[in-house]
Symmetry: C2
Subunit: 149 residues, 2 copies
């Protein structure tokens, strides 16, 4: 089974478990992100669905679908780029922690990496010391990929 099918199957299963539905359009949007090697904007996903599936999904719907996929932890929003990526661990069985992203500023390719628990703890401590409350320790780091560098 290829990667895409495996991911979609896992995603479907996961939605079912949560009593949510992975509809055709949601599958199409998720496919776009899984197949892409880089982060895509909502409007790029509109184009992808049109091209790949002849499905004309309005931008508004894509945003809603992205919200849904995020809520199911199938997709991450990269705030520094205003783009979206599929979670790199959809078809892993183990649960996974907070993702960290290296984002190529030129071409939007993304690598989802892990930093050590101790570093995360230190960041949390820094936040606590500053009298702030952490929403998510997701880090997004501006980089250049090997290609673009």
């Amino acid at each position: 089974m290829n990667k895409l099918d495996a991911v979609i199957k896992h995603a479907e299963q996961q939605c079912k478990t949560n009593g949510a539905r992975l509809t055709d359009k949601r599958k199409q949007v998720l496919s776009g992100l899984v197949q892409s090697n880089k982060a895509l904007s909502a409007y790029e996903l509109v184009d992808y669905c049109e091209t790949a599936f002849s499905a004309r999904i309005p931008a508004m719907s894509v945003y809603r679908i992205l919200d849904f996929l995020e809520s199911e932890h199938l997709v991450h929003k990269l705030n520094i780029a205003n783009k979206y990526v599929a979670c790199a661990h959809i078809s892993c069985d183990h649960a996974h922690g907070t993702p960290q992203f290296l984002i190529c500023k030129k071409c939007s390719t993304v690598k989802e990496v892990s930093i050590s628990q101790s570093t995360i703890l230190e960041l949390k401590q820094t936040v606590t010391d500053a009298d702030y409350q952490l929403i998510s320790p997701q880090l997004e780091i501006n980089c250049l990929c090997a290609q673009c560098a």
Copy 2:
């Protein structure tokens, strides 16, 4: 001397050293950021200059001015919020490293903090291992401030 005057004086000196000019409009935009306790968007700065100085600066110019102030290291862009803050260290004499920001997602108040050198080194190593190249180790962390929490 109050904080604002001190900052502007330092900023002026710093620009002079670099052969750059801190014009009136640039001062006004910088003032807006220094006086604000939170990050502001370019359009909020347009409003600020109108209100505070009766200076109608077009959005286009504010963006250019922000670019300039960034290039002089007087201002930081917070990419996850699409807003801008004055550098917290303009009137410090010592040079300072890469800034890290805690950003309140509700009200955009910002705290500029430092993380340990060892953490920064670990992040750099993570990036290198992933065959990426770091543009800047600036971290921006989504939080809630004490007020909003």
